[in-house]
Symmetry: C3
Subunit: 469 residues, 3 copies
């Protein structure tokens, strides 16, 4: 029992620490569940003959990812800054590397960020499904989670060169603002999407995907049901992805709840836009379009979920849907084969999300989301923090354009960094162990060739074709 004001004050501090830790754990669990969503979405999008292959790759993304994130990734992302580029401490939960005790909040932070890292890795597997070699997958998963992605995180979210979280004042921030990428349209989705693009180019299209005349064929997709199940699970998990990116609930519940509302409106707007555009194009109501529309909206709103108003979330979702729709057709034109449309959804909408946000940032949202803890006793933001507000407001809100500048620079950085390292990585894989399975393996399918037989032996048997078990 506390008997002085100081003692009760300490009790409150302790309780807040417990709650902020739980908040992160809550988010981590939700974002981890997105692995299930990606697994179902991807398995629903591939042919029956590659079912087990995509399943085991999804399990691997989480498992290999956990090891890599533990040993290296988290430290590169959140360790002590080296040259604003990378971290170099906090490896492997070693107290030496952490410079002392590791708090409960630190463990929770690791878990939350691991779930994000696994997301970035998973995005690639959908794009290159049905023909990428298993060894190639293992190698790029390791490199992406251990090094390429953590460097982006360090630059965009931690104490790196573009981070908006580094300081409450504008000194020393990129364009006086840092990039506004609250939950990772750029950091996570565009990173995964660029890696997916390079991988898809290097590995090449599936046999039969493109015709001589440049048209594309829709290859068999085993189940719209699984794709939709996966998408809905992703939407569910996204409330953790965006909402819990406040990192604290104490003092930030207003931001978290607004974030979940903008996330909802973004998802809904994206779905409606893509369904309508697809109806105009192909003449029917396309269930896959509804799913990808949801994801386009979600990816697009992820950067600005905390800094824009609800009606702007609608505009971001609607335009994100258009970006997806056009990018998807662009890929076909370029003869890049992306099984689940991961590149349009994650790379294009990810970049779009970062850029469009800088038009709609309002001062009130920005100050709540980015430095609520810097208010003075009267709830005002004065001095340098106030200057930063003027500097960083959105282009449509009398801003200086500094946020837009930071957004463009950061998007170009991701393109260059991830594109560059991945070109080297996938090129190297291709020259050595090989990116792609043989033509025979691709035609028979991965499951028969590499995973001990197809998935549904009974249905095959009933259908009179030869089972493999």
């Amino acid at each position: 029992m506390a008997s002085t004001v100081a003692e009760v004050d300490t009790r409150i501090d302790d309780l807040i620490n417990d709650l902020d830790t739980w908040w992160l754990l809550f988010g981590a669990i939700l974002v981890f569940f997105m692995q299930t969503g990606f697994a179902m979405l991807e398995v629903g999008s591939v042919s029956v003959k590659n079912t087990k292959n995509i399943l085991i790759k999804n399990i691997g993304d989480a498992s290999i990812g956990a090891m890599c994130w533990w040993l290296l990734g988290y430290g590169f992302a959140f360790g002590d800054d080296v040259g604003r580029f990378i971290g170099d401490s906090k490896f492997a939960f070693s107290t030496k590397s952490w410079g002392g005790d590791i708090s409960g909040y630190d463990y929770a932070s690791w878990l939350f960020q691991w779930a994000f890292a696994a997301t970035a890795a998973t995005i690639v597997s959908g794009a290159v499904a049905e023909r990428v070699a298993f060894g190639a997958y293992v190698v790029y998963s390791i490199v992406l989670t251990s090094f390429i992605y953590p460097v982006v995180v360090h630059g965009g979210w931690s104490t790196g060169w573009a981070s908006a979280f580094r300081s409450p004042t504008k000194d020393d921030l990129l364009f006086g603002c840092g990039v506004v990428d609250f939950a990772g349209s750029g950091v996570v989705h565009m990173t995964g999407g660029v890696a997916a693009l390079v991988a898809a180019i290097v590995v090449g299209p599936r046999i039969g995907r493109f015709n001589e005349d440049g048209t594309a064929n829709q290859l068999p997709q085993q189940s719209s049901v699984l794709q939709t199940l996966g998408t809905l699970i992703l939407w569910f998990g996204w409330y953790g992805f965006n909402g819990v990116s406040t990192l604290y609930i104490s003092g930030l519940s207003n931001v978290a709840s607004k974030v979940m509302v903008t996330t909802t409106i973004g998802a809904a707007s994206g779905a409606l836009m893509v369904v309508i555009l697809m109806k105009l194009k192909v003449g029917y109501w396309d269930a896959g379009a509804a799913n990808n529309g949801i994801l386009a909206g979600l990816v697009s709103i992820t950067a600005g979920c905390s800094t824009v108003d609800v009606w702007a979330a609608m505009i971001i979702g609607l335009t994100g849907g258009m970006v997806y729709f056009l990018a998807s057709q662009l890929l076909v034109k370029l003869r890049i084969d992306d099984v689940v449309d991961a590149i349009p959804v994650h790379m294009f909408c990810g970049a779009w999300g970062v850029i469009i946000t800088s038009f709609f940032i309002t001062k009130a949202n920005y100050s709540n989301a980015y430095y609520a803890t810097y208010y003075d006793a009267d709830g005002n933001i004065e001095g340098e923090e106030g200057d930063r507000l003027d500097q960083c407001a959105g282009v449509f809100y009398k801003g200086t354009g500094a946020s837009l500048g930071a957004a463009i620079v950061f998007v170009l950085y991701i393109l260059a960094w991830v594109g560059g390292t991945c070109t080297f990585l996938f090129g190297l894989i291709d020259k050595t162990i090989g990116m792609r399975v043989s033509k025979d393996v691709e035609e028979i399918g991965m499951d028969d060739s590499k995973h001990g037989g197809q998935t549904y032996p009974e249905m095959q048997k009933q259908a009179g074709t030869s089972g493999t078990v």
Copy 2:
């Protein structure tokens, strides 16, 4: 750091606000996940040929619902009262319409209530699956979420004529109590169920459902697995639906935990009862009966989850199971075709839940759930609040019958309001754009006709039938 008692007291207030907001967000996320449950349940219950059709409708319920709830629904439900019938402020997150700042808790409240609204809309799509026209579906989704459902919410939960939450004293409450429908057996489920009934009558039964002699055929259901997956997800989400309907966790954790226990016992009792009744009727253990029994129990306990004891929850679950069982057969007798038995589950068990609750309300539960915040310093309820307890206790607990009276009036109101508006709505749709697809479309299936081809092209190919992709 706080240095006075007043300052620490304020810190506690702030923290409580953060936590109550999080509590609502927690519930909103769980209830939103029920959309996934409904989608899986419904897609598992229809024929393969209508798979994509039901999936896109479920995505639409959430997406269209979000837009409608944002622009109109929430305001009609929770805006400033007009004539105890409807609200007329709090539209579209406009600060003008909200009369000032919108708090974090307000955003969370919107999200939580949106998930409920989407539930009400989804109920209809299961009943009229496999033959309702897509345009008709879009129109009724909009009207239901924007207007018909919000009016029920205003009347039953907000500051409307039947609400028990409006005041701690019995003055000015319906029968001195208001209707005890804690989490919405009536407000949500019966509303969705009545709309489903009208829609099913107007659209008519599927081809082949009923024979000339009045008997019914079981039309193909694509997957018990998906139906069960959906049902278990619904049970999971229902802990948010009922438990988080306390709306606050501070001071109400005792209610929330008891609610989750009664919800569990209700679900379990319903499942056991329906499985046994079905075994007696058809002679085998029916998996579908187990699923619908869970839902019957859950819907039935939703009204009284906070105000009855655990053993009463068992009785409510068991009798709810019987109500479902009988209602399901009644529908067949009346030649009303309901693909997923949504009408027995949601309308009949919803009404039953509201009415049966009024027999089992105990004073202790009622005062905890309905006005914990009105206790005086000694934990007593005195004066007018005490009078209300005497007035509103259950019929089996020496109550005056006032709660039963309010329950019956509210059930009749839902029947009249939703039945009336839906009769007009569906009649109008039928006369104009048409409620039903053509006979050809129905026989071929929606997916081939309207959604770009069937869902499982590979399995068809294996089976030697013609694929469509």
Copy 3:
């Protein structure tokens, strides 16, 4: 508003109570969702012809389990101690049996523990799937949830003979420590696994599982997708299973977050080990191995999740994977047929988890997890609690071996108690109502014989075989 220090202190106490209650509810909901995981995993592992059968059994585990746990189980587990063996109060939420008011936390505790009990029961159904009689299933579910499992809980977690939670000092604890089985590798998983072993032996292998020459056939498994979906849901739910086993969040968030990290590393390590071992054995990357590897790692880390460091969690996961791999082959050698490998996963890895933990317990983790509340004002543990730390540290941390002794004794106890009671139970069932369906029923499949027809009538029809609906 509070005006004295004592009043604000009380406000903090009340808030902490609300939050600890919510924490348990949060965990209960997550653990309940594991029922969905088990259902999907099991249905994915059986033949199409037994789909509905396994689904209804999974629903029954939760439903029957709720009734039994309410009426008897919770009281036997957590009621007032009788002879360190069993509890005898707290039945059926009767205030008489509880000796007074039942708090919100009590209700939450019941819910959390019910979800664990349902887990123990569900483990059996996977092992004996496809041939166990429905009546036999109902009887063993009731006995297991009402009596056999609660006795283990009382002994290991409550105030029973082996519990480490009974006292902060070593007096009167088994080997001065009690068994370190934080979240139930032994209490839950090994209990379920031993019951599954006895059941599998008594019921015998499926027709066609074993050849005359001792080799085994892989019988048809309907879907790797459903198996993986189930496994990923289990991983998701396991964060509640292990993490929320702190039972309180206030003062224990550091333990909860570390637990979720060790749980993650355990799961990932198990998956990687089993995949690699299986690749070495069969030559391909096995998706089923990845799934069972996750579960092997999770079950193994469950006992020690709070008391070992992260690198030790990796060792526990890796060795747990080996234990699973060897045990799975041992079962085949012994001609014991276990459809989902529940016995290797839950019994062998469960026992392994309890034992291996006692090598890696560190004092810092142990004191945080087991008696954080006993620190003195300076954060030290003195006197008898300090003695206990010296006594109970892991074998690799200069411990006395007392924890290892307690672990071995507890594992032997579960083997004896569950093995003994289940031998009697299943023997009795076998002699009376019969454990097994007839040969005809088994060959036709349960769904046609007992559940009103097969699950996928349309696919059958397409395949030209006779449908049953």
